[in-house]
Symmetry: none
Subunit: 202 residues, 4 copies
DNA sequence: ACTTAACCGAGACGGTACGTCCAGTCTTATT
DNA sequence: AATAAGACTGGACGTACCGTCTCGGTTAAGT
């Protein structure tokens, strides 16, 4: 699932074994040596692949990382959905707690930071990320929120994009900048505060 | 205002002119050539300084960037406060719109992204950031919120740290990941939604 | 004609143009800026070559210099011989005067001093020098002396290596240490004195 | 016993302890780490001395090395002479064997190579060496040879400088360039061959 | 079945930057 | 005023990777 390429080489001859080895090596390496020391040469060596094979198919290190993430999510694509028990608050708490758990998992922490910083500095990659990863996830979230809105559990005039940001933004920001501990309790707190608002309820 | 150093060289002999030149060069360069192409060598050359003078006083490129930011904020330290007109909502909107304006200012966008990603990958630097930049800013914000809380404009049992996250987190996340446009209207929307909550007000 | 290498990289892919450019640059530079200011970086820059290309193929600065000398002597290898007019004394005088001229030639003086001092401090390089440059030259000299010996012009029990040392040693030592003027007359004097010995001839 | 200095600082205030410490450190270090890794900074650190104290009194690393050698020879200056048993050949053999022993002594080998190469590349230093070390030694040698010449053991018209070169040149050259083993037997052989000449004695 | 052209591994190439060492100069505080 | 200490600019060190470029060797398509 290669990222943007204006004039792509003949993709039909592409070696799928090499492609998979490269993505796996990239994902593993960024977890092992960290983002700063991740190098194309290292990925090629680990994957048992010539450097050119990477340069032929990906425009940047970030694009490789990005595809590595896509590979992880393969299979789960179409059918996934957020839980809907009818209880919005507990559903959201469950989902945000799962997000917290993933962000705290050392297997995903470094790779996700790496991808985040590549996105932060590469608008083209950011656009691809938006399209291929963020938007699908966001649609799932908005789908659940829309159901709640219809059921009268959310304000009628609510902008669902803002609502998503309000739930996940605090989490992601605290994770990336380490501005505080990232605990399940924090996730719960965010959900409650977001739902009820900062103002006192009459 | 140098960052942490276990065994610092004799700081009394330090050249202040070099220190300032380095920080200014770092800040300017990251804006000009971008984070990825920022190099210690480039900073040293621009500052008219030997590389060793940088390595002598800073442990990493991120630490230089961090001190460059500290230098910007010098002078404004003690007396700053968030506006308090009594109208919390409009005060918050003014502050968040100012934040949006700053994040959109090309003079600050790249340098701040650079610092953010350094922080994301260097826990030690993150700790220094927390202590020296984030915490003072957060205290100002919490100070304003506390006043509102006392005035009965915010929920009594509100965790002010969560409140701050709820207001700035969505903004910063959208900015860094470019998951959507960062406009003054978005700032207003975040403030309103945060204050009122996602649920319908009775 | 690269010097010893334990684990050589794949030599078949080696760029001959780079190799020649490096050797030429090294030889030229040592004549221009002198031995003390000769740097790998300077050689690479002058040759229009990456530093790694030098480090890939040569273990030291001295080895580069050494190969530069070998390149000079290419072609003349096999067929060369010392003159043999039958008159040993005048043949030797001619050869030693030529040596003197070469040592006095500013085009060769600095490069040869540079090589000499590298050899003096690097036994491995000295061994290569011995094998590839000194021995062939010494064989030519001994060949001429052996002919003279057979003709009864030299003592029967003479050690030809000592004889060679006796003729060239004084010259080279005076040149390198500048312990006295290096003139054609001096060359003649050395030849005569060596042939006749210090003792009065009966 | 500082080398040439056009405008010397006020030598009366000079610290003799520092001077001695520097020379001793230079001599020791060149033996320990070798000529290539000998640094002014290393000498200063070993001597417990500021770098400026070295730069104030010596114009170059070679000059320090040179003075270190002079310090070794102090005391023995005036009274020394070559042995004169009346048997020139055995006297010379004894002296040359001593020279061989010294050149083979690891305590002197590296330092002497270091000094030799500094001399080879610094004509000013070479002149100082000639004047202060080589000439006195050479006079001693010539004194012994002159005595032999007067006794009829050497040719009447012999140039004693050439004679000295003929005896020590082969040795020094073989030592510095490692063109062959440097043994007492070689010293004997050189003496015999030099005295008798290469030609057959009638 | 047989070219033939693209892909592949390998890795040399010209470069840029790394982080370190040292040169030689300058400044500060001590003696 | 000379010294020990050491910060300063500057330049070279030897290494790691960058992204480009051959080199042979497979491998799949199209004749």
């Amino acid at each position: 699932m290669t990222t943007q390429r204006r004039t792509s080489p003949n993709a039909s001859r592409r070696s799928d074994a090499s492609r998979r080895a490269i993505l796996a090596a990239a994902f593993d390496l960024v977890g092992e040596v960290g983002y700063a020391k991740l190098s194309i040469e290292g990925i090629a060596a680990r994957a048992g692949v010539g450097k050119q094979t990477i340069y032929r198919w990906w425009p940047s290190k970030g694009a490789v990382l990005f595809d590595a993430f896509l590979m992880l999510g393969e299979g789960a694509d179409g059918e996934a959905a957020l839980p809907d028990t009818g209880d919005l608050e507990s559903d959201l708490k469950a989902v945000l707690r799962a997000t917290v758990a993933e962000l705290n998992d050392p297997r995903y922490d470094e790779p996700m930071r790496a991808l985040s910083t590549e996105i932060a500095h590469d608008p083209e990659l950011a656009a691809a990320y938006l399209e291929r990863l963020d938007r699908p996830m966001r649609e799932l979230k908005k789908h659940r929120l829309r159901a709640a809105q219809r059921a009268g559990h959310l304000a009628e005039d609510l902008d669902l994009d803002v609502a998503v940001d309000m739930l996940w933004g605090p989490l992601l920001n605290r994770w990336l900048q380490r501005t505080g501990p990232l605990t399940p309790e924090y996730a719960d707190n965010v959900v409650e505060t977001a739902l009820n608002g900062l103002r006192p309820r009459r």
